[in-house]
Amino acid sequence: MTALVEISSLRKSYWRGQSEVPVLADLDLRVERGEFVALMGPSGSGKSTLLNLIAGLDQPTEGSLRIAGHEIGSLSDRALDRWRNRSIGFVFQFYNLVPVLSAFENVEVPLLLWPISREERTGRVTAALRVVGLADRMEHRPGELSGGEQQRVAIARALVTDPLLVLADEPTGDLDERNADEVLALMRLLNRAGGKTFVMVTHDPRAAAQAGRIVRLEKGRLVDEAA
């Protein structure tokens, strides 16, 4: 069976006026199903850029990026929207919840695009909130939840579609140690017991230690892989 993520000879550049600014160069990476990969590296090394490419939020300049056998770079915008909705779960540093929606409604958002019945949607949302331990906070708005709780709602939102891959960009970057530990423990549990595949960008060695594998980026290249 092929790897879930297969990246080969990937290059990404931005253009500032006439000059090309290379961000990722000649990058190869494989992520197997069920893995928990931590992506580390100095600021500006291209971690977020790489994660965005895997997410289908951005298109590679060159090279191949295959997820579950699909060449992401060749998908249309519309197909990419659908792909992200179905196959990718997102966890952001600042949670990115909709402040005017309750926890329940926030988790429900990606399912609003699904042609399923209200009952099925409610079932899925409730299950996801139960997994992250917030079944009793469903009616609360983000403003009424702590940072750690908000991030757990975001994780529930990432899980509710049962995605192939969860991408997290510094998910503990805005949390204190105790809340960070809770969120990390949750992600690890989902990985170990639930078989979810995670790719997590982090600056925090303690967070990276929870991952099964650490990948280091430096100036747009992978430097080594530590087990």
Partner: protein, 390 residues
């Protein structure tokens, strides 16, 4: 059904977005209410005017007055013209009329007395609320009068009373016997119909009318007959100017057209300004939630869907404010509170069609207002939007 449930979820999200900043939503709403109130009010005025003229203008009616404009109210047209008009082929009936402008018990209770030849006048057009008994009494009583409901109400007069309509200025008083009431609402509310020869006896100008009304057998005849009548009287002492009632009404409208165009322009201008007001409010909201919109896009909401949400927000606001403003103006006009008593005792009213048009206009207003913010919402690449505003 399945599509519907997810649509309901998005609608809920949209409603919450609108109410995210209640103060801004309220201010925008109030702006919309004012603009749509103004628009609906102006449209109602126009509607009333057009309706009034259309109602009074029958398709088979023609209207003859002296060619020289100045003498209209002075009863300058010889009544014997009536016979000649009646003799023309295609004319069914003709009847003369003149005015006496007066007041009832107190100054300000206007009474417009129209002197008519009762038999031919009552044949010319049926009068609502005038029974055969009343018509009979009117025809048979030289000092008899049929009075509009408003005159009766404001003076405390009743059918059977002997009353005096006081002349204004040098116009002498008229003493009349009320033989019946006219039930045509506002149009005839301050009109009293009396005998034209009795008016002539009191006011002078025997054998003269201000205008002659006639009815022709078929609408298609009106124009030709009007023309031939004017030709016939061209060399008489008082040359005439005859038009179909429709073109007479159209002429009045044409005289008013600059005013009408002006009013209409003001109304539409109010709506255009509303587009800017709503557009600005929605644009502010969009700017504030750059990160949220980026998140929705990341979660799989396509460009079109995000744009639809933004446009939907603008349309929802516009519809709410537009509906409230239009309904307010409609209710006010329909209540009959807005009258123009000094002029014609005509009270302004509105119509469901005016209300519906105003309310429906709020949808394109909202759509246009939402367009620019909608484009700006999806302009940014998702990865940038996810970092929030600049």
């Amino acid at each position: 059904m399945r599509r519907f449930t997810s649509g309901a979820g998005q609608l809920r999200m949209l409603l919450r977005q609108v109410m995210r900043s209640p103060r801004r939503a309220l201010l925008t709403f109030l702006g919309l209410v004012v603009a749509f109130f103004l628009f609906t009010a102006l449209e109602s005025v126009l509607y009333t005017l057009e309706e009034l003229l259309a109602q009074n203008a029958s398709e088979t009616g023609i209207f003859m007055r002296p060619r020289s404009r100045a003498s209209f109210f002075r009863a300058a047209l010889p009544i014997r013209y009536v016979e000649q008009v009646r003799d023309v082929d295609g004319v069914v009936e003709a009847s003369p009329a003149r005015f006496h402008f007066g007041a009832g018990v107190h100054e300000g209770s206007f009474v417009v007395v129209v002197g008519v030849d009762p038999p031919s006048y009552l044949r010319l057009r049926p009068l609502e609320g005038v029974s055969e008994v009343e018509a009979q009494a009117f025809r048979g009583d030289r000092r008899g009068a049929l009075m509009g409901a408003r005159i009766l109400a404001s003076n405390g007069w009743e059918v059977g009373d002997e009353v005096t309509v006081r002349g204004r200025g040098r116009v002498p008083d008229l003493s009349l016997r009320i033989v019946g009431d006219i039930g045509q609402g506002d149009r005839m509310g301050r009109v009293a119909l009396a005998h034209i020869d009795y008016l002539a006896q009191v006011m002078g100008g025997q054998g003269r009318a201000a205008f002659i009304q006639a009815r022709v057998a078929h609408p298609s005849l009106a124009l030709a007959i009007a023309r031939s009548l004017d030709e016939r009287f061209a060399n008489f002492a008082v040359p005439t100017r005859t038009r179909s009632e429709r073109s007479h009404a159209a002429g009045i409208l044409a005289n008013l057209s600059d005013v009408l165009v002006g009013l209409r322009t003001i109304g539409y201008l109010a709506l255009v300004i509303t587009i800017l007001v709503v557009g600005n409010a929605v644009a502010m909201g969009v700017r504030e939630r750059t990160m949220e919109i980026g998140t929705l896009r990341a979660l799989g909401f396509g460009r079109g869907r995000v744009m639809a949400l933004v446009v939907g927000e603008a349309m929802l606001l516009a519809l709410a404010g537009g509906l409230a403003g239009a309904l307010g103006a409609y209710a006010l006009f329909e209540s009959g509170w807005i009258a123009v008593p000094r002029m014609t005792d005509l009270s302004l009213h509105s119509d469901a069609s005016v209300l519906a048009r105003s309310a429906l206009l709020s949808l394109p207003v909202g759509a246009l207002a939402g367009l620019v913010p909608a484009f700006s919402a999806v302009r940014r690449p998702i990865s940038e939007a996810l970092h929030g505003a600049d």
